[in-house]
């Protein structure tokens, strides 16, 4: 995307100083970046990452994302990750074109850390959400070529002492959600499952079970969403964010929760009136 920056120490005159912005620093030190304008309507063969959900619980927020990336009708990756830390108290989950999404997350993480180091204090959660908004908006021309990036952003707000979550659209529109949000191709199904099971007083473990169930149902209905892969031992990424910060749940724990979900679904399917209750997740 861009050439390596010059190797000398970046010192700026008062008028040209990019301040604490890493994107501004990049623009000031390297040739213009951004996706090449191909003039083509859609770039073929690009990997897409899919379903992510985020929901609030009594201690903070929880985020989850499946592990599948698809290119057209093929599965291009089985174990990519879509949920990443953003600073100590927030996480970002991505859905959309995998390449630009990963790059956006990398730049976003770097921007937060850069700001914190230059300014001597971390960016507020609102400031972080706004930064991400601007990065999504900057991607709009690429989005029109099919390289859509739609993140979810969630974190623990240290000033308000509660978990908050934000949803975005391709134009960089930022919408704070009170309870839950879902993005990606399976978001309709995942969002519905979370909606039906959501209570404001969910415990973190209950929220994790709800997110796991939501991803399972999304994978059941949407070909581009990956379910639990018991053969290869690949499970969705689930992270919990509370006043102690960002913490990824152990794979072994997620595997156990999936197995118990599957067991409960099997019991439901084996029941005498299975014909009626087979699709009932509860």
């Amino acid at each position: 995307m861009s050439l390596p920056p010059r190797r000398t120490l970046p010192l700026f005159g008062i008028g040209e100083d990019p301040g604490p912005s890493f994107a501004g620093l990049l623009a000031a030190t390297s040739p213009a970046g951004g996706a090449p304008a191909t003039g083509q309507a859609e770039i073929p063969g690009v990997s897409h990452a899919t379903t992510t959900v985020a929901l609030r619980h009594c201690d903070g927020v929880l985020m989850a994302g499946d592990r599948r990336a698809t290119a057209g009708n093929l599965i291009s990756h089985r174990s990519i990750e879509k949920v990443f830390p953003a600073g100590r108290y927030a996480g970002v989950a991505i859905a959309g074109a995998a390449g630009p999404s990963m790059e956006m997350v990398r730049l976003f993480q770097l921007q937060l850390e850069h700001y914190e180091k230059v300014e001597g204090q971390p960016l507020s959660l609102d400031g972080q959400a706004n930064q991400l908004s601007q990065m999504v908006r900057a991607n709009l021309t690429s989005a029109l070529q099919g390289l859509v990036v739609v993140p979810l952003f969630a974190g623990w707000d240290q000033r308000r002492r509660r978990g908050r979550l934000f949803q975005y659209d391709v134009t960089g529109g930022r919408y704070e959600e009170q309870d839950y949000a879902a993005a990606g191709s399976g978001s309709l199904h995942a969002g519905t499952v979370v909606k039906l099971g959501f209570r404001p007083d969910l415990e973190p473990t209950e929220a994790a079970d709800l997110a796991i169930s939501a991803l399972f149902q999304a994978a059941d209905e949407d070909a581009a969403t990956g379910g639990p892969d018991l053969v290869r031992g690949i499970f969705p990424v689930v992270v919990n964010i509370d006043s102690d910060g960002y913490r990824r749940l152990e794979d072994s724990h997620i595997e156990e929760r999936f197995r118990s979900l599957l067991a409960s679904l099997e019991v439901a399917a084996d029941a005498p009136d299975a014909g009626r209750s087979a699709g009932d997740a509860s």
Binding site: T8, L9, L110, H114, K117, V118
Partner: protein, 241 residues
């Protein structure tokens, strides 16, 4: 036609060096020493907001003494250099040696070519995976780089403090005794420094990716138990006079 007065180059350099040294000597000093888990940096600094010690990258810290605006400018340039390099290549390619060389170039350039040298002394500290691999690059106002492996002292009273530090220091200390050694070396025999006189940060290799951590005032007070009553006594002693 008026000819400019001839001044010998030795004299110009000496005048500039004296000017820089005087500027640096006006400020308070700083000590960095290796301890069991990494590097401890301790500065005498009454301000709680204008920092002398800060984070540059995952395993690299920066410290400066002298004129605040000048070393802060260098600090920000260092953060930018490190973040750009890590973004263009990889996080593991960012190292203190290259950064120290960049600083030395800039300081040397300014010392010889500009009207006024920078009145700063800076330190670039880096820890690696295992004990004994710590690096302390001490860079002077004229771009001279010293590579020190155990302790480093910056500031006007560096000689006296180094001597005290050499007597007190031993390798492999825990964080609390290391801090006590640093505070005692900075303070000297006649006075004692409390938590509110000190700015302390550590590069701790057990912390994960970002090894830099600033110690809060309460934490410093806890690690420096005997210093606490002294700083609390001071207002009373002044009142008694």
């Amino acid at each position: 036609m008026n000819m400019p007065f001839y001044v010998a180059p030795e004299q110009i350099m000496k005048d500039r060096a004296d000017y820089a040294r005087k500027g640096i000597a006006r400020g308070k000093s700083l000590v960095a020493l290796t301890y069991r888990d990494g590097i401890l940096l301790c500065a005498e600094n009454v301000s709680n907001t204008l920092r002398k010690i800060s984070e540059i990258y995952d395993r690299i810290a920066f410290a400066g003494v002298g004129k605040y605006n000048e070393f802060d400018q260098l600090r920000i340039a260092g953060v930018r250099h490190a973040d750009l390099k890590g973004y263009a290549y990889s996080r593991q390619d960012v190292d203190a040696r290259s950064l120290a060389n960049q600083y030395a170039q800039i300081l040397g350039q300014i010392f010889t070519h500009e009207m006024k040298p920078m009145e700063v002394e800076i330190l670039v500290a880096e820890i690696a995976g295992e004990p004994g691999s710590e690096q302390l690059f001490h860079i002077l106002y004229d771009g001279t780089v010293n590579d020190e492996s155990r302790c480093s002292v910056l500031g006007g009273e560096a000689d006296a403090i180094s001597e005290r530090l050499a007597n007190l220091y031993e390798p492999g200390l825990e964080v609390a005794p290391a801090l006590r050694v640093a505070a005692a070396a900075l303070a000297g025999p006649e006075r004692s420094l409390g938590a509110d006189d000190l700015e302390v940060a550590i590069l701790d290799r057990t912390l994960g990716r970002r090894c830099f951590r600033r110690l809060e005032m309460a934490e410093i007070a806890e690690l420096l138990p005997d210093a606490l009553p002294t700083s609390a006594d001071q207002p009373a002693a002044e009142a008694a006079e």
